[in-house]
Structure formats: C-alpha cells, structure tokens
C-alpha cells in the first residue's frame, strides 16, 4: 500500500492507471458494527463467535417495504454498504449531491448461494407425494398458493447488488461473484481496475457471511464488510476523507492473511475484513491537497 501523496507513481508499476483510494469502510461483526468492529479486527478472533449479528436493519435501511423483500444476508450486505458510504460522505440517494456521477459509480458483491429450502416451501411440500403427473400437478397448484410470489427474487444471489444500487442510485458497472472464498478478493481487484482504467469513479465492494449459505466453507457466524474504492481525483474534488491509497499489488497484500481465526469464522468476508484491518492498522494520513 502507498501513502497518498502528490507523486503520481504507483507501487504496482502499472501504466496509464488512475490512482485509487479507499474512502469508506463498513463492518458488521457479531459483537458490534462500525468503528468498534474495525478496531476489533486488529485483535485475534475469539474462539467461538456468537451468531447472529446483533443488528437492527431498520437503522440502516429506512423503507420497511424494501426490508421485507430482503434476505438477511442482503440486509447485512446493504448495511455494511451504508456504513462504508456514510464514511465516504455519501448519504442514501445522495450520490449526485456528493459530487459523484451515478453512471460512473457501481457496486461489486461477493456472495454465496442462498439456501432455497425456505419455510414456505417446506410447508407446501410436507405430506405430499411426488412421482406421478397427478402428484406433481397437485403439488404445483398448492405451491402457486403456498409459495411467496417473489420467492425467486428473494433468493437470487445478485439481489444484494440490486438493493444497494437502488438505495444509492449506483448506475455504473456491476459484478456479483460467487467464486467461494476467492470472491471477495476478486471483486476488490476488479473494482480497482475499473477505476484505474477509467471505467468508473467509485465502486462499493461488499460481502456477507451467513450460516445459511449452501456452499463450503460454511461460516461459523454472521458478518458483513464493505469498502468504497474511489478515483483519487474524484475523492479530492469532493473533499472526501481518504483512508489510504492502494494499487493492484497493495490490494493483493492487504486482502491476504487476516489470520488469527477470522478466515474460518467468516470465509466470504475474510478478504474484505483483512483489508479493513490493514487500513485500520496503518497510520491514516490526510492527502496533501
């Protein structure tokens, strides 16, 4: 990682790359959220993290109708994004007011599959036989009445990005990656390059762990993390608080090796949590303006 200075060189040696900085951080851990959670990451992980996160989604997402449509994993993801964007000086729906072109601001999410065995499905399925055309037909008719009409959307992996984009009017590039434990580091890398290559000015990167994820490694508890990456010139123009300047090599370094048991607790979030811990540990320097 490089302290943010006026010298335009980057540590990666990449050519023609715009400088990229971290302007927002958000974390929700089972014990607390926000700044206290960031501080905790510097310490070793406790042996047995409690689950779930002590968390009231209404504190982050005001619209109850929106909240009802959100899987808990999406709520956690969105809440972490709210925290990170708040630190970056962006209020919900306030991207343009903060001096950022919505079409050049996007989001990237590392996500896991969501367990489709929901209570409404189990209730509809209980006591039924499935085999003949008649039995499938009866189940089908019952399911049309018993299943939630928006069940499909509630369980789509990419809906976290959809929710966050609507909350903040993010219209730029988007990715949801489901590559398992690698996904969070991948979204940070792709977001970095989107900004460095001039395809976006701001990217919100998020991930969440919930024990209901249907792929290994299974997390031991709940957590969510978000990082706002931004072009240095955009951050400077709007006088955003800059936590750290990063380049491609620095990102690789800070997303690896969270250690101390955190990875096994929160595998989906671990790379983002590692980056947050690194930023927290580093001496934060104000950019020379």
């Amino acid at each position: 990682m490089a302290a943010c200075e006026d010298d335009p060189t980057t540590m990666s040696g990449a050519t023609a790359a715009r400088r990229v900085v971290i302007t927002g951080r958000g974390a929700l851990l089972p014990w607390e959220g926000g700044a206290a959670a960031l501080a905790r990451l510097a310490a070793p992980a406790p042996a047995a993290p409690p689950a779930p996160v002590a968390f009231d989604a209404r504190a982050y997402i005001g619209n109850p109708k929106v909240l009802r449509a959100m899987h808990r994993g999406f709520q956690l993801t969105a809440a972490a994004a709210v925290l990170a964007l708040r630190e970056a000086g962006v209020a919900a729906g306030g991207l343009a007011a903060a001096g950022i072109d919505p079409a050049r601001a996007g989001t990237a999410v590392a996500a896991g599959e969501i367990n489709p065995a929901t209570p409404d499905l189990l209730a509809t399925l209980a006591g039924r036989r499935l085999g003949t055309a008649e039995e499938w037909g009866e189940f089908g008719q019952a399911a049309l009445h018993g299943l939630h009409p928006f069940r499909r959307l509630a369980l789509l992996t990419n809906m976290a990005a959809g929710h966050v984009s609507i909350l903040f009017d993010l219209q730029g590039p988007s990715l949801t990656l489901t590559s398992g434990a690698e996904a969070a580091a991948q979204i940070l890398r792709e977001s970095y390059w989107l900004i460095a290559e001039g395809r976006a000015d701001l990217m919100v990167c998020e991930a969440a762990d919930t024990p209901e994820q249907a792929f290994a490694p299974e997390p031991a508890g709940e957590a969510a993390a978000a990082i706002v990456l931004e072009a240095l010139e955009t951050a400077r123009a709007r006088r955003a608080p800059i936590a750290l300047e990063v380049d491609a090599a620095a990102l690789e370094a800070i997303t690896a090796g969270l250690g101390a048991g955190w990875e096994s607790c929160f595998p989906a979030c671990a790379p983002l949590l590692a980056a947050l811990a690194s930023v927290e540990a580093a001496a934060t320097r104000e950019v020379a303006r």
Partner: protein
C-alpha cells in the same frame, strides 16, 4: 494499447442441439427447441414446456448444470485444440456464469418425512434447512465446487471466477475473461455459462412472477414466446451451456490457433430502478450498450446486427427497444435485430453466453438469426426485427444480456 482477445474455441449445447453445428443448422432453418418437458411428469403441472436439451446429448451421472457445462467445455477445448485435464497453468483462467444450484424436491420431501414429529417446529425447520444446504455442498452442486471442476478440466491454474448477475451473467463471465487477458493476468481464459432452470421449483418461481408465456389455444409450445411481437406475453424457460476459449492474439498465433472471432467490447451497468422491473426508458441497458461500444472503439453505426436480450415479456422488450433508440437514435429502425430466445428458451444465467456463441455461428456462416414467432409490428418496439433467417455477410454484432435486479451486460463480437 489493449491486447486483442481472440475466440479460438467454441462449444454450445442447447435445445437446438448437442453441438455447434446442429445449433447453427437449426437456427438457420428457423427451428425451435421448445417442446413439452420430459425431465419430470409435467403433463398436469402449471408449466408444461420449455427449451429442454435432449438427454442423449448429455453425459449421465452429473448434475444437470454440471453436465451441460462439461459438454460445452469439452467441445470448446476440442475446437481450440486444447487437451482436457491438462496440468494447470497459471496463465490459464476460468470465468463461468453458473446457474443457481437446483434443489431436489423429492429428496427434500424425504427429509421432511424423517423430520418427525413436528416438521413445523423451529428446531425441525432449522434441521431441514441445514440438510438442504449440506446436500447442495455434498453433491457438488454448489457453484464454487462446480467452478473448481470446470477449471481442472480446462487446465486453469490462474484466476477462477464465477459470476452471477441473473440473466446478464454470461456476458459478465465473457467480459471478466476479456479483461483478465487485456490486463495480462491471463493468456487464455475458458469462459462460458451453464444453466438449467427446468426443474419444478424454478418453473413455479417464474410462473409466480407472471413472467412465463401462457399456453395459447391451438398453438404448439414452440409458438408461445414472441419477442418484440405486439402479442408477446412472456418467455419460456430453457437450459443449455456455451463455452468460449478466449485467447490473447499473440498467444493464439504462437500456438497456431485460428481465431473464429474477436471479443472486442464489454460493458455493464445497473438500472438502480427496481428489482422486478427494468427502467422503462432502458437507461441502464443504454449505458451498458454504450460502454461496450466505447470499449470496442466503435460507433453505433458500425454494428451490423444486435442479438437482443429479447425475453418476450411486454416490459422487457419495450425497455430494450427504448435503450437501443437512446443509443442509435433514428438508426434504431435500421439495424437488424433478433432474439434467439424464442428458439432456445430463456437460459437465464447461461443465456448471454449461449447467445454469444449462436451469434458467432451465424456470423461465420453469413446469416442473420431469426426472431421466431415475430408476426405483428409493435410501435413500442419500433426496430428492424429479423423474422426469418436472412442470408447476408456481416462482421460486427452487439449481444445484450439484462437481468433481474437491474443488471445489464453487453458484449461486442467481430468477425475474424
């Protein structure tokens, strides 16, 4: 100067056929792969038809999505003259759009029987849900596990990326692969998409969303989906997979591989408007199309053909047409456009990967793919819709993929 990305191998399996040539032949002839479902006894089910791949075209024993992906991947590797299961090389990467793992309802029902005495009790519900999650992991249906298998088959020792952006996933996988090569992080990327949502639960979920074309009295299922037609009412679900071998131009030249086409543009965007409805003016769609054009260094008038997302739903087709008008202006009425979803069904996460493959096959052979069942002009979709395959040489295509959650991703393909 960006590195050029060649497409040196292609494999595709869809309801139109089990290999590239059968897909091309069926597409050119205007045949549809939509027919009554055979994967389960569906005669009295609320959904009875879809774009189903013939069982004979798939290996036995694997899960459906895995079988589709592995079939397309094997064909693409053969086409690119690459050995399957080669030792992993760090300069080889894998980028896949993989559909949501299917839940086996009969298995779930079996667990319900075992969950006596009270399946509705909170602890029993938790147990059942844990069983379902564990089963998805155990059977290797989980996305990360399938990605690892596909990467091993492709000899990918570099990045292994799985994308899920709903119906835009395939284009995002291709775009991710393109950028890995352009940045020099990979020399060769096996990219593609695979999906099958023809299982009972997925079909019910689409029916609940009122997204499916209703059966029409006296009409075969092949006629139900009518993209851009004034009488359109929705889509039919399909299944399939496509794999493309993306390769840095220099790498392809060094090993004597012949480019079949070039992947020159990619752009993505978000509607930031609604989870179920796309932006009515096609704002996000227009932004993704414009970004792909910029990436390719092309102007709208350089495009010879648009492979539309074209699901056949009233709102989606209208919004896509509006987005095209926003980018092309008056010329939107001139550029030929079609949706191949009426022929293949909507392949969801695999849709845009398969459509990119079909676009390349048509471009190579010199015909414009038809938009089946297009009969009646809709002034809200005032586009030059290709109703029947048209023999014509052309060189540049835009292929669109737009998904639930406001996801948009577009790619540009150019003739070699």
């Amino acid at each position: 100067m960006k590195r050029r990305v060649a497409i040196t191998g292609l494999g595709v399996v869809s309801a139109l056929g089990g290999d590239a040539e059968s897909n091309r032949t069926a597409l050119r002839a205007g045949r549809s792969g939509v027919r009554p479902l055979r994967q389960f006894p569906s005669q009295k089910f609320p959904v009875t038809a879809g774009g189903e791949v013939a069982d004979a075209d798939l290996p036995r024993g694997a899960g459906r999505i895995a079988a589709l992906a592995e079939t397309a991947l094997a064909a693409a590797l053969r086409d690119a003259r690459l050995e399957p299961d080669a030792a992993p090389r760090p300069e080889v990467a894998a980028c896949w759009a993989l559909g949501k793992p299917r839940l086996d309802l009969e298995q779930l029902r079996g667990w319900l029987d075992a969950a006596a005495p009270d399946a509705a009790a909170p602890d029993q519900l938790a147990w059942l849900r844990a069983q379902a999650a564990a089963a998805l992991r155990r059977h290797g249906h989980g996305t990360a596990e399938l990605l690892a298998r596909l990467a091993r088959r492709a000899g990918a020792g570099g990045a292994k990326v799985a994308c899920y952006t709903a119906c835009a996933s395939g284009n995002d996988a291709l775009g991710m692969g393109k950028r890995l090569i352009e940045r020099g992080e990979a020399e060769l990327v096996v990219a593609g998409g695979a999906d099958s949502q023809l299982d009972p639960l997925s079909l019910l979920e689409y029916e609940l969303l009122a997204a499916l074309a209703p059966p029409r009295e006296g009409e075969a299922p092949a006629a139900w989906c009518r993209p851009f037609d004034r009488q359109r009412r929705g889509f039919v679900v399909g299944e399939g997979a496509a794999a493309l071998v993306l390769e840095a131009e220099e790498h392809a030249r060094r090993r004597g591989a012949r480019p079949r086409a070039w992947l020159t543009g990619y752009g993505s965007s978000l509607d930031a408007f609604g989870l179920t409805k796309c932006h009515p003016e096609g704002r996000g769609a227009a932004q993704a199309m414009a970004a792909a054009l910029r990436d390719a260094g092309l102007r709208p008038e350089d495009i010879d053909y648009i492979n539309a997302h074209g699901t056949g739903t009233v709102l989606n087709d209208r919004a896509e047409a509006a987005g095209i008008r926003a980018v092309w202006g008056e010329a939107a009425r001139a550029v030929p456009i079609s949706s191949t979803k009426a022929a293949t069904g909507h392949l969801i996460a695999a849709a845009s990967a398969v459509e990119a493959a079909l676009t390349i096959l048509a471009m190579e052979a010199g015909f414009l793919p038809p938009s089946l069942n297009y009969r009646e002009f809709d002034p809200e979709c005032a586009l030059n819709v290709v109703a029947a395959a048209e023999e014509r040489r052309w060189r540049r295509a835009l292929s669109n993929g737009f998904g639930f959650g406001g996801q948009n991703a577009c790619v540009i393909l150019e003739a070699a």
